[in-house]
Amino acid sequence: MSKTIADLKRGQRGIIKSFSAETIPLKLLEMGCLPGNEVELVQSAPFRDPLYVNINGSHLAIRNETARQIEIEILT
């Protein structure tokens, strides 16, 4: 199974690969969540929800259910 943003550990980075176009809000794309961009998990709230991420320089908080739909390749 491929990894998603929800699998990142704090401080870890990844490169966004793909996501299902139907379920991801357009707003997220517009904030820079596009394939090829880098994403870093800055902080996670208890129960890993929501997640505070840095996507391509935008600092955002998103819910776990959204994060699980964004596939990434984890960088070490």
Binding site: A21, K27, E30, G32, A61
Partner: protein
């Protein structure tokens, strides 16, 4: 008349549009370091060079022209409607230098509408610290328009911006992106059908429905039957559009902007490690709330005592200076005590606004949203409901409006419905005076007992809000498309001028707004209390003298008895007696009943009303508090304000929906009377029951 120019300030949330607006117009609109401070359009006038006047419009922040929440929709509706009186001659896109890439997305969209567009790169004062440098002339060439580096804080670049606005006719309106490259065949068809429209505008109108309501297609002449595409294809095309735009932006920035990565990081990372920590984050959040309530109670008691006594003295002074007569009585017994009832709360309200303003300006509010989202979601709310709930402690009206940036309609509706349970500043006057009367001034484990009670009341308000949210969440059957994205802005040192302006403006609005109602009500009440129908009122002295003919009474005591006899048989006394049966089970007498009813206009009227009623009934120089303390319960005997009746009153005010303005704003925000009417009925019923139980139980 010189020609007037329409200028619209557009940009992502929290980029400093309102700050630029304030600089241009010299007005003081509220700013804050939280995305979504401005939720409505605001207008102002700016004098430009060459004697031209510009009409400046400050708009809510939006991430793109594909709206996903109500506040964002304001911008789209304006830009799609050429006939709107505010339709801009020139658009000024305000961007944040630290997020330029993302900000440019919106810029390219607006440019593609073929409106002359100027790019403001704001917060230029932070460039050096962040290691950012920009080649402005090269960027201007890439974006085919004028670019200005601005610092709204330091007032840099504002004059240059004005120059560019005046010369807007020289700006190129060439689009950034060739929209038809998304789907050439489809766009050719569009172009042939509507040769006079900008292609991108057509595209926007067609796609709006996918995300969000009702842009009027007829406004540009697209017939409903012009076959569009199915939703998922449109959505895919929107994504393609976004990707194409970012390609363009990346290309433009690569050549013109450089960031020294080593200079970045710093403050944000360090602070976030603590403030959003899974344990310390919450400890700090709740400590901040605790601090706020303790401060409101303790620090403001000194100026309050002073104000209370000053008003009592002022009353006495007017009475001795002005000639005796009905007019003097109106002033000294009606108006002054009534107004004193509001003025006394200025210190507390100012403190409250001060704290909320600091929380917003510093960037902390978004962290609170992050910490609370999961918990709030359980109750059918969103993390973003934290802001309405916290600012609801100041006033429910801006709080209801602050719910606009919640994307999900169900979460937003629930937030709007429960916000009036939070303890707004108008409840403070009532709480404070009752607490002072019935809760002993002692310490409990180092905490001031009265302060603790107040804190309990605040928690009760929150608790009730959360609980009813949960109930609504279970009852309401609304399909929701739950998603949540919030930006975490950089921390900033609050700008004291902004905070100061905010506190002064809000306090002023509170005092003037409440002052007007209270003035009117206190005059009406005074008239009703000073005149009465029939024998009993007119011959009060004779009747009282006859009743007490057996016992010898000193002149003073007799006067007092007469005054209170008169009050009982005045118009207001009669009204009060009529409603007394309804409020007696809660432990109130008819005077409180009157205050209760008049405070359905606005809660803060309560103290003013009692002050007016009581001062008509007595002649001595006294503070409101001591007057209330000496009242007796004529039904049950003993003092009127006991623990039981006090708690009952506190609970009534905690739960009842007593604010016309809130009802009006809820109607406006939900577009129907259904919700405000339900709010009024249900909240008041809960209040009555709670007060009834409390009094009967504690008695």
């Amino acid at each position: 008349m010189s020609k007037q120019l329409n200028v619209a300030l557009i940009g992502n949330p929290n980029t400093g549009k309102t700050s630029v607006f304030n600089q241009l117009t010299g007005l003081n609109q509220q700013v804050g370091n939280y995305p979504g401070i401005t939720v409505e359009k605001k207008e102002g006038i700016c004098k430009l060079p060459k004697n031209i006047k510009a009409h400046i419009l400050d708009l809510p922040g939006t991430y793109s022209l594909n709206a996903s929440s109500l506040d964002e929709n304001v911008v789209i509706e304006l830009l799609l409607n050429k006939n709107d009186k505010d339709y801009p001659d020139v658009a000024v896109v305000v961007s944040d230098v630290e997020n330029l890439k993302r900000n440019l997305l919106l810029f390219t969209q607006i440019k593609d509408l073929e409106i002359p567009t100027i790019l403001v790169v704001n917060m230029a004062d932070r460039m050096e610290r962040k290691g950012i440098s920009i080649d402005v002339p090269a960027l201007e060439k890439e974006l085919k328009t004028k670019v200005v580096l601005v610092s709204a804080r330091k007032r840099i670049g504002i004059e240059e911006l004005k120059e560019h606005i005046v010369n807007y006719r020289h700006l190129s309106t060439e689009p950034c992106l060739n929209a038809s490259s998304m789907d050439p065949e489809y766009f050719n068809r569009l172009r042939n059908a509507f040769p006079n429209q900008s292609l991108y505008k057509l595209w926007l109108v067609i796609t709006q429905d996918v995300n969000f309501g009702n842009v009027n297609r007829n406004s540009i002449g697209i017939k409903e039957d012009f076959i569009t595409k199915d939703d998922s294809t449109l959505k895919r095309l929107q994504q393609k559009e976004t990707i194409l735009r970012y390609q363009f932006i990346n290309g433009a920035l690569k050549k013109t902007m450089s960031v020294d990565v080593n200079a970045a990081k710093g403050l944000r990372a360090g602070l976030d490690r603590i403030l959003t920590h899974r344990i310390w984050g919450y400890v700090i959040f709740f400590s901040i709330l605790l601090l706020i309530f303790q401060a409101i109670y303790d620090w403001s008691s000194y100026p309050m005592d002073f104000i209370d006594e000053s008003f009592a003295r002022l009353s006495e002074l007017t009475r001795s200076v002005l000639p005796a007569g009905p007019f003097t009585n109106l002033i000294s017994e009606g108006v002054i005590p009534g107004l004193g009832g509001v003025v006394i709360f200025i210190p507390q309200i100012a403190f409250l606004f001060l704290f909320i303003s600091i929380l917003e300006e510093s960037g902390y509010m978004s962290r609170a949203v992050f910490l609370m989202d999961r918990t709030m979601r359980r109750f059918g709310l969103s993390g973003k409901s934290v802001v309405p709930l916290v600012s609801g402690t100041a006033c429910a009206i801006p709080a209801v409006m602050a719910a606009r940036n919640i994307e999900d309609w169900k979460e937003r509706l629930i937030t709007i419905l429960v916000v009036p349970f939070t303890t707004c500043s108008a409840r403070l006057p009532v709480y404070l005076i009752i607490i002072a009367l019935v809760i002993p001034e002692e310490s409990f484990m180092g905490f001031n007992l009265q302060g603790l009670t107040l804190m309990l009341l605040y928690m009760l308000g929150f608790g009730m809000a959360i609980f009813s949210a949960w109930v609504l969440h279970k009852i309401l059957k609304i399909k929701s498309r739950s998603y949540f994205v919030i930006e975490m802005p950089n921390y900033k040192l609050p700008m004291f001028k902004n905070v100061g302006i905010n506190v002064v403006e809000k306090t002023k609005a509170f005092v003037l707004g409440a002052g007007k109602i209270i003035l009117a009500i206190s005059i009406i009440l005074w008239v009703l209390a000073s005149y009465g129908p029939g024998e009993n009122f007119n011959n009060a002295r004779e009747i009282v003298e006859a009743n007490y003919s057996e016992t010898f009474l000193p002149e003073e005591e007799l006067d007092e008895l007469v005054a209170s006899y008169k009050l009982q048989h005045s118009y207001i006394g009669n009204i009060g007696k009529a409603i007394e049966p309804a409020v007696a089970p809660l432990g109130y007498d008819w005077k409180i009943g009157i205050a209760l009813i008049s405070s359905f206009a606005a809660r803060e009227v309560f103290v003013g009303t009692l002050a007016t009623i009581y001062s008509v009934g007595s002649d001595e120089e006294e503070t409101i508090k001591s007057r209330m303390a000496s009242e007796t319960n004529h039904i049950l005997g003993g003092p009127l304000f006991t623990l039981a009746s006090g708690v009952s009153l506190l609970l009534f005010y905690a739960f009842a929906m007593q604010c016309m303005s809130t009802l009006a704003i809820v109607k406006k925000e939900t577009n129907t009377w259904k919700w405000p009417v339900l709010q009024l009925i249900i909240m008041t019923a809960i209040a009555y029951l709670a007060a009834l139980l409390a009094f009967q139980f504690l008695r």
